[in-house]
Symmetry: C2
Subunit: 432 residues, 2 copies
C-alpha cells in the first residue's frame, strides 16, 4: 500500500473552476434570514400566492391515475410532449409561431442559460451583456470562461447608424483576439433594473446582433408579470417576422414557470430554431438526462387548469406592492436618490449619489435598521455601479414595504450627510 497523501483539490480543478466562486452577497444574505429583518433582497415569488391546491390536486390525480408509474420513470430529454405542446400555444399567444420541435424543457431557465453557455461559449469568447445584468446569467456563463463586453442598449436608440456600433464591438473583440459569441438580454422588467426594452429598441438590438452575426439570448423570466401598459412582442417574435420562420431566427427564448406557477418544481423551457434545440436536447441528455418526469406532467395539468387566472392573481398583488414601494420611495428618499418605475416584474433599481456605496450601506442597514437589499455592484461586469442597489417588493406586505423604505430612507439620508465634504471622519465605524 502506498502512502496516501491528501489530494490537492486546487491542483485537481480545471482552470474554469477559478471562475466559480461563492457570491459574497449570497453568503451575506444567507445570514439575513431572520424574522426581524425586512428583506427587499430576495427577488423570489411570494409562496402565499402559489396555486398550491391546484398543484396538490395534479400530483394526486397523476400518481393515482393510469399514468402514475409512467410519471415516475425515465423520460425523453426533450421533455414531456403535452407540456411542450402547451408551451407552443403560450408562445403563439406571445406572437411566436413555432412547433413542438422548437421547445426543450429545462430545469428552470437557469439551466437554459447554463446549457447555452456550454453550447455557445469557448474560453476567451466575448459575451455581450448589459451592465447591470442578471447575476445568475454571469454565473451560468462564467465556467465557460468568456470575456464580457458591455451591451449598451440605451445607446442603440441614440445612434443613427447601427453599423458604427457593430464596428466598435467587432474591434473590441478583435483587439482581445476574441470571437463574438452571443448577446444576452432580459427585455421585460429586467433583473435587476425593472426596465423594459421598447419595441423600437428590440428592433435595433436585432439589427445589431444580425450585423454581428451572433445569437441573441432573450431571458423572459419576468415577462408574464406585466402590471400595466401594452405587452411588447418578444425579440423572438419580432425576429421571426423579419426572417420568416423560427428555424431561421437567431433569437433564443428562455422561459420559465418559476415566477408564475412555482420555482420549486424546476420547470422552464427554451424556444428557438430546431437546429439549436436539437443540440440543447443532447446537452440535456448529457447533463441530467431529463427534467423530473412527474413535475412536467403536473406542470402541464396546472398550466392547463390555472395559468391565466394565476397570472392575473399574482400580477394584481405584485402591482400593489410596486405601487406601495414607489409611493414610499417618493415619501422617504432624500434628494439625490433616483429609481426606476417598472411596469411589471419584481424589482426597483435605486441609484444613490455617486459618493455612496451600496455594499457599505447594506452592512449598516442590516446592523442599524434591520432592512436588507442587494447592493448593485455585483450586477456589473465592468466594475461600475457601486452606488446602486436592487429592491424587490415581491415578498413584502404593503405595510412592510412602507416601514422598510422609511428606515432605508432615513439611513441613506444620514449616509449622504456624512459623505458631504468634510464630514467623512465622523462616519460610523460600523459600516466599514
Amino acid at each position: 500500500m502506498l502512502k496516501s497523501r491528501p489530494i490537492d483539490w486546487d491542483a485537481a480543478y480545471a482552470g474554469r473552476a477559478d471562475r466559480m466562486r461563492a457570491s459574497e452577497i449570497r453568503e451575506l444574505l444567507k445570514l439575513l434570514e431572520q424574522p426581524d429583518i425586512i428583506s427587499f433582497a430576495g427577488g423570489i415569488p411570494d409562496p402565499e400566492l402559489f396555486p398550491t391546491s391546484a398543484i396538490s390536486d395534479a400530483y394526486t390525480a397523476t400518481l393515482t391515475g393510469p399514468s402514475g408509474t409512467r410519471s415516475l420513470q425515465y423520460s425523453v430529454s426533450e421533455g414531456y410532449p403535452p407540456l411542450r405542446r402547451w408551451i407552443v400555444g403560450l408562445m403563439a399567444r406571445l406572437g411566436v409561431s413555432c412547433g413542438i420541435d422548437n421547445i426543450v424543457i429545462t430545469s428552470g431557465s437557469q439551466q437554459g442559460l447554463d446549457f447555452l453557455g456550454k453550447l455557445l461559449l469557448s474560453a476567451g469568447d466575448t459575451a455581450l451583456v448589459a451592465a447591470p445584468t442578471y447575476l445568475g446569467a454571469l454565473h451560468a456563463f462564467n465556467p465557460y470562461e468568456p470575456r464580457y463586453d458591455v451591451l449598451r442598449i440605451n445607446e442603440l436608440d441614440r445612434v443613427n447608424e447601427i453599423d458604427a456600433v457593430q464596428v466598435r464591438y467587432r474591434h473590441a473583440a478583435a483587439a482581445a483576439t476574441s470571437r463574438l459569441a452571443l448577446a444576452y438580454v432580459v427585455p421585460d422588467f429586467a433583473n435587476p433594473t425593472g426596465d423594459t426594452l421598447s419595441e423600437a429598441t428590440r428592433l435595433r438590438l436585432l439589427d445589431l446582433v444580425a450585423g454581428l452575426g451572433v445569437p441573441l439570448i432573450e431571458d423572459a423570466a419576468y415577462s408574464a408579470l406585466r402590471f400595466e401598459g401594452e405587452p411588447i412582442r418578444p425579440c423572438l417574435a419580432l425576429d421571426i417576422e423579419r426572417c420568416g420562420h423560427i428555424d431561421r431566427s437567431r433569437v433564443i427564448y428562455c422561459g420559465t414557470f418559476s415566477k408564475t406557477i412555482s420555482p420549486g418544481l424546476r420547470v422552464g423551457w427554451v424556444c428557438a430554431a430546431h437546429d439549436l434545440v436539437q443540440k440543447l436536447v443532447l446537452t440535456k441528455q448529457a447533463g441530467d438526462l431529463h427534467s423530473a418526469t412527474l413535475n412536467q406532467v403536473v406542470m402541464h395539468q396546472v398550466a392547463e387548469a390555472v395559468y391565466d387566472q394565476q397570472v392575473r392573481t399574482i400580477v394584481a398583488v405584485y402591482a400593489k406592492r410596486r405601487d406601495a414601494m414607489l409611493a414610499a420611495l417618493a415619501r422617504h428618499m432624500p434628494d439625490g436618490v433616483s429609481w426606476t418605475r417598472p411596469q411589471g416584474g419584481m424589482f426597483i433599481w435605486i441609484t444613490l449619489p455617486a459618493s455612496l456605496d451600496g455594499a457599505e450601506l447594506l452592512a449598516a442597514s442590516v446592523a442599524e435598521e434591520r432592512v436588507a437589499f442587494v447592493p448593485g455592484g455585483a450586477f456589473f461586469v465592468d466594475g461600475s455601479g457601486r452606488n446602486t442597489m436592487r429592491l424587490s417588493y415581491s415578498l413584502q406586505s404593503e405595510s412592510g414595504i412602507e416601514e422598510g423604505i422609511r428606515r432605508l430612507g432615513r439611513l441613506i439620508a444620514r449616509f449622504i450627510s456624512q459623505s458631504a465634504p468634510g464630514s467623512r471622519a465622523t462616519a460610523s465605524p460600523g459600516r466599514a
Copy 2:
C-alpha cells in the same frame, strides 16, 4: 433595418459542441418502442416495482401539510437538509463516515457526472475510464473535451508493482501533453458489464489513483442492487480508512435514488471531501440553482418510510430475472458465446465470437426476431468491443426473457455459421 441573414449555427457553436452528437444507438432504440419487441436494451427499472403509493402519499402529505408552500419555493443549492442527513445515515451503513457538508443533492447521478466533468476536466486533459464503461459518463465528460485513456482494471490484480502501471499512464499523458485529471469507475454491477470489483482490486485502484495524484469518481448507481454475496465496501470507505477522514479522501461517490425508488424524480447525490462539495454547490447554483424542492422533500419521506423494504422487493424480482436470463443463455447460446454472471444490478454482458458485430446483429435481431439489445461497441473509448452486446433483464418477465434469449441464440447461431470461412457470401443482406 438590416438584411437579416439566417444564422449559421455550426459557426455559432463552441468547439466543444463537436463532441456532443446524437447516439446512433439511442436513436435506433427510440424506433424500437413497439409492443411486439422483446427489449433487453433499456437498462432501466421496472416501473411496476416503483413504490408509487408511498410516493403519492408523500406528495399529498407534503402539499397539504404545513410546509406545502415552502416545498414549492426556491431552496438552497446544497439540497434539502433532512434528505442530506438521511443520506449521511445511508453512507454510514456503507462504511462511509461523513457529515451533511459532505453531501450535495444532484438531479440524478448523471448530473453529478456532468458537474464533475465541469469541475475537473480542462480541454485536452486525460480521463481514465474502463473499456467498456458507462456511455452516459462519456456523454457527460465529452463537452469538456478530454482525451481518454483506458483504465485496465483487471491488470491491476496481475502486476506486482503498481508503480510501473502508474509510470505507463503518466508517460501516455505526457506524450499527449495532457494532464491526468481523473479516473472513473462503476465498481458494483457495472453498466455495461455487470462486473464487480473485489476489495483487493479497489485497494489497488486506490494505490493507482493516489500514485497518479488524481481524484477517483466512484459511480455507485447500481450498488444497492446486490442479489447475493457479501457487500464490498465502497472505494470511498476504503480510502477514508487509509487517509483518516473523508475531507482527505480523493474518492468522489455518486449515488442516486433512480435505481431504487424512482428515476423520474431526478434525485441523486455526491458524497466527497467538503472542499470539492463546496465547489459542486457553486456548480449546482450556476447550473440550475437547485434540484426540485418538492421532490427532495418527498424523496426524504419515501426513503425514511420504505427504502430498505423497497430495496428488498426489487432485489428479489431482479435476481429472479437474472437467474432466468442466465439459465436461458446456458440453454440457447451456441458455442463461442460467453457472458458475465453479475451478483446484482441490471446487466449481463455478452461476448460473441470475434468475427461477429453487435451492431449488425441488432439490425437483424430487430428485423427477423423482434428482439432488441445494445451493441457493445459504443461503450468502448478505444474502438474495440464490436463483438459484444449488453443485455438488461430488469424490464422483462421471466417468460419474456426465456423467449427473447431463445430467439437471440437462434440468430447468433445462424450468424456464427454464416461467418464461418467460405460462408460469408451467403450472409443475408438484411443485416448489412
